[in-house]
């Protein structure tokens, strides 16, 4: 029973030492400002909403804010040939001119790239670390001053 009591005292002392050391190191870290650098995450990119003007004419089944064509249109015109005379006098009339319109975009239209983020969860994510790949500002190898900075 005496050994048990002694072991208890040792364990209690260890807890006390851990608490005191933790408190001292934490205070030092706070003073040096090191604690603020911990667990910093990059601020997420905020996508600004596009101002969409809706008028009463849009209250229909048709397309809302149909993109207006840009004034300059490119036309792919095949070379005009009036007629070709073949030796046996048969006249081949040229086909009707084909005008192919290029798809046009609204001048101020902001093309938003939809990025669908697929969540790949593996057994390796079963940890307390960040799930998404953590890219630290400074890793242990790159920190120049390797001494304890507190």
């Amino acid at each position: 029973m005496k050994a048990f009591t002694t072991a208890l005292y040792v364990c209690g002392l260890l807890m006390l030492v851990a608490t005191v050391m933790g408190a001292i190191d934490y205070t030092n870290a706070q003073k040096k400002g090191t604690i603020k650098k911990l667990y910093k995450e990059e601020t997420p990119v905020v996508v600004k909403p596009i101002n969409k003007e809706i008028d009463y004419e849009d209250f229909s089944r048709g397309e809302i804010n149909r993109p207006e064509p840009i004034t300059t249109k490119r036309k792919n015109v095949s070379k005009r040939v009036d007629s070709i005379k073949i030796e046996n006098d048969a006249v081949i009339q040229p086909k009707k001119e084909k005008i192919r319109e290029e798809p046009t975009a609204k001048e101020n239209e902001i093309v938003e790239k939809k990025v669908s983020k697929k969540k790949n969860i593996s057994y390796k994510n079963f940890s307390r670390g960040p799930i998404e790949k953590f890219e630290p500002a400074s890793s242990i190898d790159t920190v120049e001053n390797k001494s304890w900075q507190y």
């Binding site: 072991a7 364990c11 851990a18 933790g22 667990y39 242990i140």
Partner: protein, 223 residues
Amino acid sequence: MNARIVTQQKARAFATAIFFWLPVVFFSLLLIYNTLPYFGFGKNFSFIQERAVLFLQPFYSASFYVHIFAGMFCIGSVLLQFSLTILKKRKAIHVWSGRIYVVVVLLLGAPTGMYMSFFAKGTIAEKGLFMFMAISWFFFTLKGFSSILNKNVLAHKNWMLRSYAMALTAVTFRIYYLILYVFNVELTLNYEVSLWISVVGNLLVAELIIYNKAKKYLQTFSN
């Protein structure tokens, strides 16, 4: 005993094994499996990289490795402790595994956890929660050990159940963390919420089990 009661008991034991112990064993082993690579002492782990500044301090680094060793050992050894078969047929395994568990928690796991809690991720509330976890883990284990020395088996079971609930927060936290991640909860919030749910939830479940056992025990007197 009535055949119907026996069948009910068997069905309940089977359901507990399937819906409780099977996931617990699986996730506990997964935790151990994921912890083992850390003992290569490499730095290419997201957990370490996130705390790169802390790992420059030898004391924190040492505490971390001791803590994960202790945690891994506790999570693994506890799986043997709750086996009734081992307790009845191989009592020595239960006794020695239990002794080692107590030593590991009181000497290694809880003190290192306490030290690391000062630098835990989250606000002051989460740091406080980690401190509470370390202290309560220490206290519950100590009470469990002292009660068995005093031959109080009932109290020993209850205190050890609470101790295990604290140890198992490491497992439940990771489960909640992944579930909330799937539901697109912001990562810092996810971390904090998962932590609170795992600690409070585990304690509540432990108390519920103890309450139900006590209720059944008291019913035996009225019958």
